[in-house]
Symmetry: C2
Subunit: 328 residues, 2 copies
Amino acid sequence: MNSSGMLPSWNEGAVKTAIVEFVEQTVSSEVPIEDRIATFDADGTLWCEQPMPVEADFMLRRLAEMAGADPKLRDRQPWKAAYEHDNAWLGKVITEHYAGDDTGAKALLGGVSAAFAGISVEDFEAESDAFLRSAQHPTLGRGYLEVAYAPMLELLGYLEANGFSNHMVSGSGGDFMRPISREVFGIPLERVIGSSTVLEYASDHTGGTLTRKAQLGFLDDGPQKPMQIWTHIGRRPLLAGGNSNGDLPMLEFAQHDDKPSLRLLVLHDDAEREFAYTSGAEKALAEAKARGWTVVSMKGDFATVFKAAHPEDATRPGRALKVMSSRP
Amino acid sequence: MNSSGMLPSWNEGAVKTAIVEFVEQTVSSEVPIEDRIATFDADGTLWCEQPMPVEADFMLRRLAEMAGADPKLRDRQPWKAAYEHDNAWLGKVITEHYAGDDTGAKALLGGVSAAFAGISVEDFEAESDAFLRSAQHPTLGRGYLEVAYAPMLELLGYLEANGFSNHMVSGSGGDFMRPISREVFGIPLERVIGSSTVLEYASDHTGGTLTRKAQLGFLDDGPQKPMQIWTHIGRRPLLAGGNSNGDLPMLEFAQHDDKPSLRLLVLHDDAEREFAYTSGAEKALAEAKARGWTVVSMKGDFATVFKAAHPEDATRPGRALKVMSSRP
């Protein structure tokens, strides 16, 4: 496997060396294919999460729409913030979440669950799909399908070429991410683990209908990540990648007595090409330092942050992808 | 694909024809590989569930062991039944479960959760693994690894050879089935969906520890099956196979407007080679008849029920499988 050929968007240095050595050691020590499991957080690890996670934008637009149609909602959070474009409220929720207080996050996710309550899983999939393929990132001048980090996409490909199965383990909803997980990240639907909404099944003569209820199943963050990994995969990952305190348990969980392992923590230190922030990652960064995990500096280790937007990406067969005209 | 070559344990007839036609139609109409999803119940569909499901035997032995060590438990269900080998109590629980009353089943599963509460997921895996590889079926004269139905194993292989991904969707615990799912059924760990136990995560310097709590997460049966299928796979199956009322929603869910689909319902009508019973399957059989689903008669459609037990199976590399001496 010619690794440097597969990782052109990574600068040479200690991080790239650690990745290549880990993969080569996995292969040379003949770790069985079924144990070559990699798990990645999505928001802030595989793609951009600033100024807000992609799903939050999706949900806020929907909440604003609801408040537009129903004035009674305009006094209640999270509809109020969505309707008034009050990003400060959302910012506070996220800050509190990272500090370990999920009261606001649960209110937000509760509103979000309510926002799509009563629609079928197929209709929700169609709504997510349409949003992800048409909405633009608020500041980067590119569509959401193009805010994935080029070096991380190469890493996913490099791992897969070496027998790994890549899984997404995201705080965002699994049903939100699935419509584009394969196309953007090469991750098949069954390897997407995300936050869940409680579903309801009704028997009928059209194959039964699964409907979303106004109730969060679980928030796939923090200790829930190793729990969900075990429940879905039944194995500890060999490699785990994250960027925030909520990824700490998953990174810790990637440990084996008898096999190589690698923990990657993405550090957002590139205000010029992406964003610079450590809010919500302080504990993770401290632990990474204390335990010798691999910290990926976007500024230092990423030769390129985003893929150039190619117009032909917009015309893949069978896809209704809107043309994204912007180039970085 | 030479289908008859891959399905030697199936008798020629309407059922085999329906299977082959469904697969050939899927291939010739170029259904995308990622949509070729098959979901199978385990107990009574892929392997024997009489006189009790395999996991129930595992759990009862453990409960009896606990009651042996602690006399106070001998007056409480399910320990009492386990200690006294009171199969009538268990039979009643199962009958009530099939009739739609899960009170007893939840008591049993509660006891079962308690039976393994406080042990790590890895230790539980080792216990399940050791049991499955050593315990004998009570009446068939063969080990539990050899009570899988040969025609169903061939069907799994035939589907896989035609681009399908096979998933197990079982009322038994996912963590119980995983140690042998790949070896016995060719189903990788991440495609095993089963009932869940609530887990607890504790951070430590040995990679964190996941412990089983004395609490059932969900019972993967009835309407829970399509819910779990959607949460794990994000797709409706093209083919669903089951044998009881608890599989009805999953079978119903295998419907597509624009793709072929197949529902298989295994009918236990072979007292000589396996068991004959319709208890708990009455509604499923009535629906199958009303909707034109495919009923698989074990007596009529299975040329062979179980694979011959080969001594060399017992000495697979790296496996501590006890030699199973019996041949049918």
